[in-house]
Every structure is written in C-alpha cells, then in structure tokens.
Symmetry: C2
Subunit: 411 residues, 2 copies
Amino acid sequence: MAVNLPLPIPENLIAVAGIELGHAEAGIRKANRKDVLVMKLAPTATVTGVFTKNRFCAAPVQVCKEHLSNRKAGAPIQALVINTGNANAGTGESGLADANATCAALAKLLGCEASQILPFSTGVILEPLPVDRLVAGLPQALSNLKADNWYNAALSIMTTDTQPKAASRQVKINGHSITLTGVSKGAGMIKPNMATMLGFMATDAKVAQPVLDHMVKQVADRSFNCITIDGDTSTNDSFIVIATGTSALEINAIDTSEYTALADAVLGLSQELAQMIVRDGEGATKFITVTVEDGMDVEECRKIAYSIAHSPLVKTAFFASDPNLGRILAAIGYAGVDDLDVSKLNLYLDDVWVAKNGGRNPDYNEEDGQRVMKQSEITVRVKLGRGKAEATIWTCDLSHEYVTINADYRS
Amino acid sequence: MAVNLPLPIPENLIAVAGIELGHAEAGIRKANRKDVLVMKLAPTATVTGVFTKNRFCAAPVQVCKEHLSNRKAGAPIQALVINTGNANAGTGESGLADANATCAALAKLLGCEASQILPFSTGVILEPLPVDRLVAGLPQALSNLKADNWYNAALSIMTTDTQPKAASRQVKINGHSITLTGVSKGAGMIKPNMATMLGFMATDAKVAQPVLDHMVKQVADRSFNCITIDGDTSTNDSFIVIATGTSALEINAIDTSEYTALADAVLGLSQELAQMIVRDGEGATKFITVTVEDGMDVEECRKIAYSIAHSPLVKTAFFASDPNLGRILAAIGYAGVDDLDVSKLNLYLDDVWVAKNGGRNPDYNEEDGQRVMKQSEITVRVKLGRGKAEATIWTCDLSHEYVTINADYRS
C-alpha cells in the first residue's frame, strides 16, 4: 500500500532526445516478468553517478565505478544494463566476472567496448547472478529500444515496489526548452548513503563532464540521501544522471545561471523520485517529513532526524496513529549529540507545539496530537535552539505489512 | 512470547541479608497492578549504579545521579523507590520536582534525609508523574517489607514484560558463602548505553565504595550494555548494584582475588538478567547471539554486531526462519567501518560456514542455513580477519507481535 503515490501515466512521461530504452523478460528470478532494461545513449551524452558506500558494494557497482573513472577519450558510455531479481552482491570474484561478462555481451551486440557499458543489479544478495539468462535476454531488450519507453523502464526495475516510479518535467533555460525524465525503484533496504537503489535520470541538455559530476553529488545530498525506510543501506544503491547533449543548451561551468536553473530542475525531479520510494516503502501507511532546525551544523541535524526516522518505537506509533510522542524525545536524546541541552529544545507535530523547552508544553493537549497523527502525511519539526543549520529526512511508518513482506520476500 | 525464558520460581530466589523489599498497588497507570517497589537497605550497604546516556534522561535518573555523587559521610543510601506506569521523562522542571517530592515523602516515612533515597521510574514518556498516587502507595509498600520478597519485586517493576525476571546465585569466596540476587525488567526501548532499564542486584559482601563503582562499570559493559531489542536507548536505563555488607567478606581493592571472584559472579548474574530481557523482547521468537571476532578493536566489533542486530531486514529474516543471509552482509557493509576489506571476511551461522572471503562459500548449501534458522537460539559469527578484538551482542528477531505491542502500548 503506497502513501499518496499517483500511478505514473505513460503519456505524461516525456521522451528525452538522445536516449532509448528497451526491456525484456529474461526470467532472472521469476518467469513472465519484465526484469531487464537497456538504456542506449547518444554519443554526445555525458553520464555521472553516485554509488553506495556499503563496504559490501555489489559487483556491478564496482564495475560501474571503474568504467566511469577510467573513461578514454572518444569512448563515451554507450549503454546501461539493469537487471532485477538478483543483486550480484556478496558474490566475490565470480560476481565480478559475471558483471564483466554482461558488459562484454552487450558491447558485442552494440559494437563497442565493454568499458562503455554500465551494469546495475538489484534483488537478493549472496546468490550467483544467472548471467546466462541475463545475456540471453539482451537481444529482446535491444529489439524493444525506443525513446518513449520510460513507463516500461520503470516497470522493469521494480522488486518489492508496489508501483512503478517515474516523473518528467520541462523547464525553460535561456530560451531553450529542456526535458528531464527519471525513474527510480526501491521499497526496502532503503537508507541511501550517497545514492539510492536505483535512480536514473536523463536530460537533453549538454553538460560538461566535471559540471555533471559536481551536480550529481549536490543533488543526491538533498534528495536520495535524505530518505530512509528501514535504515538498511543497500549494497547496490546507484543514482545516475545522463545529459544526452541533444539540446542546444550547453553548460560548461558551475558558476552560471544556466547551471543553477538546471541543477534546481534536477533536484526537484530527484526529490520527487526519492519521495516516491518512501511513499511506496514496504508496508508504508504514512509519509513522514522530519525536519531538524536551529542546529550547530547539518551533520547533527541529520543525526537527530535519522534517529527519529529509524526508531522502531516512533515508527510503530505513527502506524498506530498514537500520539505517544515521548518516543520522539527518547530518539532525539540517544542520537549521539552529546552536548545537547534539552531544556532549549522544542518539538512540533505539524502546527501542534508538543514539547516546550524540553518538557511537555503546558498548552499541548492530546486531542491535537491525535488529530495530526491520524493524517497520512505528517511533519515532525524539532528546534534545537543552538544554531542555524537544518536538515530534512523523509521516511515512513513501520507496519505489520513491513514484517509480512520481509518475512516472505524470498520464499 | 518469551524465548526459552524459565519463569523464576519464588523459592529459588535467595534473600540477601541486609535488604528488604516491599511492593504496593498504587494505581499509577492501571488499577490492581503491582506498580511500586521499595528496597530498604542496611546502614552497612554500599550502592552504585550506571545510568542512561540519553540526553533526555529522566528526572529520577538525574536525582539518582545527584544523590549518589553528593553523598555525605554518615548518610548512606537507605532506600530505593521504583514505580512503573510512568517514566517521568521529558517532564522538565516539574518532573524533577515530582522525583524530589517522592524522595522526600519516603524519607519522612523512614526518618532519613531525601538525599538518602534513590528514585526510579519506567513507563510512558512526556506525561506528568501522578506523584500523589505514588506517595499514597508508599505506606503499603513499607508494610510489605521483607527479605524474601524478590519474586514480588520482579513482578512490581514489569511493564510490557511478559514474565518477571529474577535470578540468584551463591558463590564461595575465601571460605565465605556469598549470595547474589537480582531483578531486571524491560522488553522494548532496549539498547542500553551504560545500563538497562531497570536492573537491580544485591550481594551481602562488604565492598568499599570505589571498588563497587569500578565493578559496576566493568560488569555493565559486558552484560546490560551488550543487549539490544529495537535499538531505542531509553531515557530511564539504570543498573544498580548493592553490597549490603552483612557478610564477613570484605573487599577493599580491585587487584585482589576476592574482587575477581565477586566481579565474575556479579557479571554472570548480570549477563543472565540482561539475556532474560532479550528473551522476553517485545514479540521475540528467537534469541540471537552476534559475535564479531578478529577485529582491530572492540569498538569496531561492537559497531558491526549492532548493525546486524538492529537491521530490520536481518531481524525479519530470523522471524521467518529464512536463510536470506545476504542481508547480514549488507548490514556488515554499512556498519561504518570504512576501511573494512570484505575479501577477508567470513560468516558463520552456528556451525555452518556461509560466506568465505567475502563471497558465498562454495560448500554452503541452503538446507544447512535453513536448519539453523529454524532454531530458537542462533549464533551469528563474523570473522573480520584484521585483528584480535572481539565483541558479543545479544538480540532477538522482529515479529508481527512487536508491531502489535508497540502500536497498542498506550491505548
């Protein structure tokens, strides 16, 4: 059950010139299921990405990083290949060989080098990738390649997601109409640290490589790196931005108004895609925004916001619509901000002032708390009273359904 | 449902000379429920404790710390008073006044100073303590005072616990028979950081104050500070050791064989009481021991052990008896040990070698994993291959019942 997540309408997803998408049913884990996606890029495209910091980062993530950092002049990235049903993580040397074999097979079909392919996987960890079935599915994916195929792309990367996640927007920059379209997936094992599992976004702007590299980090830190469902940072998180370069808009420097305009648009779309993941969080019934203000620095604001967002007791209280808000204070208290003076702390639930100077606000009454807790969208606002920094994290509640999904996921 | 937690048998709990316990039904939150406990100490007793590091530490914890650190000569701690049903945390200045009023009321009844009383509370956070009902219940508790009342003491401090937790042991030290008896409580909001909510232990040995202070920290770090149920560090955690001094055994220094013998016995009983809390963890169906070995230092071993123990995905896999063990690798990978070389890592589930040098052990087969996952007691053993340190954490699984309990706790 997703929280206020509108189903993407295929017609609303705008093709981005310079990128074609093709899907296949390769039977990676289950039959008759779209489980392979190929994204083919124009030779003018620049590509960048950020990846999980999990030390058990998956074999395809390692290969992606290598292919992105060792690019040769004249050998741009030509295609991305994504499979679901198997994460190819915790698979050691043979997993790396499988990821490389996938790139080699697609490169052969496209007539390029293996190093011009980026591979991605998502699914169960610690099981060997069925590389033969994956490779056998590639011709079917290539036969489906077309520009207006973003809806099928969103379908093809789903695992425990209940809905495909995709969005488009168009912005005018310097008189040029620029298109941005992206897809994302993920519903469990979601607490991205650098990026999320998996987000892909394309724009037709022409963006110089170092500029795009700068933008993806800036954007990830304010979108995909601000969501959490269960605190489990995945082995496969990847967020990729592609600038196909087919538009006349050219961005070669960061300190330009064009950069700011495009970065804002990319950020807006990234936040929308990231929030879609939370809205479809495993078992989610509530969408929670946690904002921590007046901190000494962003890091301590994030620490406290994550502490609230990860507390099973806070999450189950949201599920129950129970204003047992002392649990939020406890989570703030153990967040690890050792010199926090709780007597300066104020807590709000939407417009309701719950805790004042570290204690219960005398004017707070439980009916007001109850009213907000019953909503499907709730903002928790903490004011630390010790500085000017702030941070926002998006999360969901913890329900019976989460346990059901994760106790049944493989079987 | 508790995991292999034998119900304590009242006759097996051995009275400790120099300490009497009295309980009352004060109606703190619900009627007809033992919810107040008084522990009265002999004037020869030394008392020490460790308390939560949660910044929102409860009013009674603040008062305990003050009374323990500002002791005057000739004015030893005379009694402890514990209530359930209300945590008196997140209650600001009025909460402190309530805790002090409780001490003053009991001191008046006992004919001592308020500073000779230690107060403890456990229950809902952010609600005012019903101090009038608590004070009104004290005479009843005093009328029940007796030495062989440990079973009722264990009953009186329960909240969401399904069973009382108590244990005794006797050890011979230097020819003296020494008794140790303790009680503990807690089933949710359990990830003690210094101590747990709540553990009380008494021995009849005579132990000098600085020696007892040293012992409690040493013991807490290897017992109550090694358990977690949901990662939520409480506002009220307290672990108290009382040496009543009625035995002829006198311990005045740390570097003695008597100290070691007593500390070992205290540790053994503390681990038993701490593990009882995990066995009765909210919704627990499995008791899990996580041991991380061959680390660079204890801190990194604990980081990784907690990361596994807190992962909702790992915990739900245990609940489902599903050997989806890649989730354990993911939790190891995001634990925050940034230079971890996963190619040196090995993972065992009881006697089954699951991951070898960072990948799936070629000899591992899922039937073996399945067999262990079905057990009610499971040991996860991680070998990091980078040093000689190790750490052990005890935890439980995450079940539907956990969500049910915490979505219903207050209502």
